[in-house]
């Protein structure tokens, strides 16, 4: 439902805390009682994730609005 379509164009990100490069991993996002699995860049040590701007303002926003109108 919420996919990170631009994974290949993802920035080169390092977790500044763990000094480890972020790699794609499964993350759960939730809103108003619904949960979705998403592939996001993630620090495999501390679990910090990255939500890119186009995902937050695109698909995520669409799903938020659809759930709000349920």
């Amino acid at each position: 439902m919420i996919g990170n379509d631009n994974a290949s164009a993802a920035p080169a990100l390092t977790c500044a805390k763990c000094n480890r490069e972020l790699t794609l991993g499964k993350v759960t996002v939730s809103y108003l009682g619904s949960e979705f699995p998403v592939d996001l860049l993630k620090c495999q040590d501390c679990g910090t994730v990255f939500v890119p701007e186009d995902l937050a303002l695109g698909k995520m926003l669409q799903v938020e609005q659809a759930l709000e109108d349920k």
Partner: protein, 778 residues
């Protein structure tokens, strides 16, 4: 909203009422739609509409006595539309054959129709269409009755024959030379009652005493006919047409009689009530309102050849005169109502359905939250229907059921919470006084837009009013009220009421129309008036004459729609200032909202933009408002606009009409600083030094982005503070920027920033409401 109330509101809207022509027509020809087809030159479609109601279009289009034309609304302006001539044009130019109506399956029951004038023919056609076996008996040697008395120039025989071919198509058996006779003759009433299940008598105006004993009033020899049902004293016999009207012949009324008698016969044969739900049969008074103001007079289109009827061009010119009667008064003045492309009757239904559904999408949520709640619709509505009431009720219901989209009003409610937090709230008697005769309540928006003026107004009030003028800072609760958040509104109002009580219940002086209205509605015992009133009756301060424009136009605040005193006082102040005033066409009680009301601009930026653009395009003159949000909304789109206070306390450093209002973050900052400024400078209190916040560098394009995305600088600070203290941040190796996120309450903010050790430069920010479930699963 309960079902009955929704129904009541739906019925209140008159837009779906028929136009006057249609309501006056005994058989309700949809002349408005037909004429619209003629206007477009589509005679085929026009004919289809006419023929849908009238089975004999060639006849009726030539001889109708057209009560529709007497009723036509256009006659209020100049001359009635020549509706009957346009019917004739449809019949002449459509090249369509009279359409055979869709027949129901054949029934066994038989009906006799006596007389083949218009009433008998219509009854025969309608009953045959319903599947009955119909036999028509005509005394003469050809059908038509009264129709044969028109001259051939008016109604040529071939027009009659063409229309009557329908009888054949519908399998109506026609018996000519068959007069209804005395009991000893072949065709008599006893025979008919024995052979048929029902009888319709469409027999013309002559007395029939000798033929129909028992049915007839002996004083005049005519059949006694019950008006609504066309029934007689014999349950199987119905009657109508010319027999009811004597020698006054109305073809369209005869047609109506045949049609309505056929309805009764059908009901009788099916064992249904003859009287239920028949109120709107025949001519009636419509409730539709149509404004004719501004319609330029144009005489009826002349007909070059009276016998041939209108030529095509003539017909189309005449059709173009039709007002296409609609109400739509509210839709015409409200961009919000126009945006959703319908009208209140439909909107009420949608809103009710939205409220009632349990499963599935609530598709009207956004529409409900877009209304400015300004009640302009009610001000222009001929029947006082108020969409504000309906939308606010729906919002309260959504909040009550937990169905209000969290994103709809979150920003405004957080803004209100800020204004009612310690950062802004303040309640003090005037320095040197232990009581207050009145208090000044500037509200949250003037304090955010023009904090200096709040200080100046407070000084002015202290100088001009006696017995102590206290000051109360805070938000009145209007945003929560608009959001349908009753509990939050009540909390805000009762907190304010407690303050008032502690201060000795002083008079409230407001600077904002919304605060004024809210206090009057929710605190009926409180005395409330506006700063404008004080300014109108007291001398203006010296600063008032410094920078006054020559000429302005007034935009009234929608919250003051019915506050004639405030409207008058604003004009009085402008006169005192010597400013020439021109009025907008829609002023005072007809003023539209600027798009801030009802939190419209936060719920639907697209509609809000239309609303504000329309208003600012109405005059080239500089506007004067008396609401800070109206002024800021106009100025944000490049419209020169003053707040009335700008003319009295002009800002020293800039052109007040051209200045852009502060953004969301600056508005918070202005309120907080105003409180500290007043405490220090009016009450001479030492306030704690503000914490030195981290130094931010936000380039103008990013500031604009934050404004559009409604991200406050205080939230940016929280994200960076969290990232820097917890170390939870990402490094973009290409740009060298840090990316961090944090969720202070319900929204997760992402900030891309860099730091040179002295200040943080913000490169980007965005947000989402979805929650991330982070961490490493074990």
């Amino acid at each position: 909203m309960d079902h009955n109330r929704a129904k009541e509101r739906e019925n209140q809207c008159i837009q779906e009422q028929p136009p006057k022509c249609m309501a006056a027509c005994p058989v309700h020809v949809d002349a408005r739609s037909m004429i619209d087809c003629v206007r477009r030159g589509d005679y085929k479609a026009g004919f289809a509409i006419f023929n849908k109601t009238v089975p004999f279009p060639g006849i009726i289009s030539r001889i109708c006595d057209h009560p529709c034309q007497t009723a036509c609304k256009r006659s209020d302006v100049d001359a009635t539309i020549m509706i009957n001539s346009l019917e004739r044009a449809c019949a002449d130019y459509s090249d369509s054959a009279t359409k055979k109506p869709l027949m129901l399956p054949k029934k066994e029951k038989k009906v006799a129709v006596i007389g083949s004038g218009l009433s008998g023919l219509t009854a025969a056609v309608d009953l045959a269409t319903k599947g009955y076996r119909v036999s028509t008996f005509e005394a003469a040697d050809r059908p038509g009755g009264h129709l044969r008395e028109f001259g051939v120039e008016t109604l040529p025989s071939d027009a009659i024959e063409k229309d009557l071919s329908l009888l054949n198509a519908l399998d109506v058996s026609l018996h000519l030379n068959s007069p209804l006779g005395n009991p000893q003759e072949d065709l008599n009433i006893d025979y008919l009652l024995a052979e048929f299940d029902a009888v319709y008598l469409g027999i013309g105006p002559a007395p029939v005493e000798s033929l129909l004993h028992g049915l007839v009033d002996t004083s005049d020899g005519l059949i006694t006919i019950t008006p609504l049902t066309y029934s007689t004293s014999h349950q199987k016999i119905f009657a109508g047409g010319g027999h009811r009207y004597g020698h006054i012949y109305s073809p369209i009324t005869s047609m109506m009689d045949g049609r309505l008698a056929a309805v009764s016969i059908d009901r009788f044969l099916q064992g249904a009530s003859l009287t239920a739900n028949r109120e709107l049969e025949g001519p009636f008074e419509t409730r539709l309102f149509t404004k004719t103001d501004g319609v330029s007079p144009k005489p009826a289109t002349p007909m070059a050849n009276r016998f041939n009827g209108y030529a095509r061009e003539e017909a189309e010119a005449e059709a173009a005169r039709c007002l296409n009667c609609q109400c739509l008064e509210c839709v015409k003045v409200c961009e919000y109502l126009a945006h959703y492309k319908s009208y209140p009757k439909r909107y009420v239904r949608e809103i009710y359905n939205n409220d009632a559904i349990i499963m599935g999408s609530h598709n009207a949520n956004r529409m409900i939250n877009t209304c400015a709640l300004c009640s302009l619709c009610k001000a222009v509505c001929p029947v006082d229907l108020d969409m504000s009431e309906i939308c606010l009720d729906a919002r309260q219901s959504m909040v009550g059921k937990g169905k209000m989209p969290p994103s709809a009003h979150d920003f405004a409610l957080r803004d209100m919470a800020f204004s009612n937090s310690d950062a802004f709230t303040l309640a003090r008697h005037e320095p040197g006084h232990s009581t207050s005769n009145s208090i000044f309540f500037p509200g949250c928006q003037l304090s955010a837009s023009s904090p200096e003026q709040v200080t100046q107004i407070y000084e002015y009030l202290r100088r001009n009013l006696s017995d102590g003028v206290g000051l109360v800072l805070g938000c009145c609760g209007a945003p929560a009220d608009w959001a349908g958040e009753k509990a939050i509104t009540d909390t805000a109002i009762s907190a304010f009421a407690d303050i008032l009580k502690k201060m000795g219940s002083p008079k409230i002086i407001t600077a904002c129309s919304s605060c004024l209205r809210l206090f009057r509605n929710h605190l009926p015992d409180a005395q409330v008036e506006s700063v404008q009133t004080i300014l109108a009756i007291n001398p203006l301060p010296e600063s008032a004459s410094v920078k006054t424009p020559e000429h302005v136009t007034i935009h009234d605040a929608c919250a003051s729609r019915h506050d004639h005193a405030v409207q008058g006082n604003v004009r009085c102040i402008l006169e005192k200032l010597g400013v020439k005033i021109s009025e907008l066409a829609d002023n005072r009680h007809l003023t539209p909202c600027c798009s801030y009301g009802g939190l419209m601009s936060l719920a639907n930026a697209e509609v809000a933009e239309k609303v504000v653009r329309r208003r600012i395009s109405e005059s080239d003159a500089d506007y004067v408002t008396y609401c800070a949000m109206c002024r800021d909304n106009f100025a944000a789109r490049g419209k020169r606009a003053f707040h009335i206070f700008d003319l009295i306390w002009p800002p020293s450093d800039e052109d007040p009409a051209a200045r852009k209002g502060p953004g969301y973050s600056k508005r918070h900052e202005n309120r907080a600083k105003l409180k500290l400024h007043l405490l220090r400078n009016v009450w001479n209190e030492k306030t704690a030094e503000e914490d030195k916040p981290m130094k931010l560098n936000i380039p103008p394009d990013v500031t604009e982005l934050l404004e559009a995305r409604m991200i406050l600088i205080e939230d940016i600070r929280k994200v960076i503070a969290h990232a820097e203290s917890a170390g939870q941040r990402l490094l973009d190796r290409k740009s060298g920027h840090f990316i961090a996120h944090y969720k202070p309450v319900s929204v997760t903010y992402w900030v891309e920033y860099s730091s040179d050790g002295i200040e943080f430069t913000i490169h980007n920010a965005y947000s989402h409401r979805m929650e991330l479930i982070e961490g490493i699963s074990k």
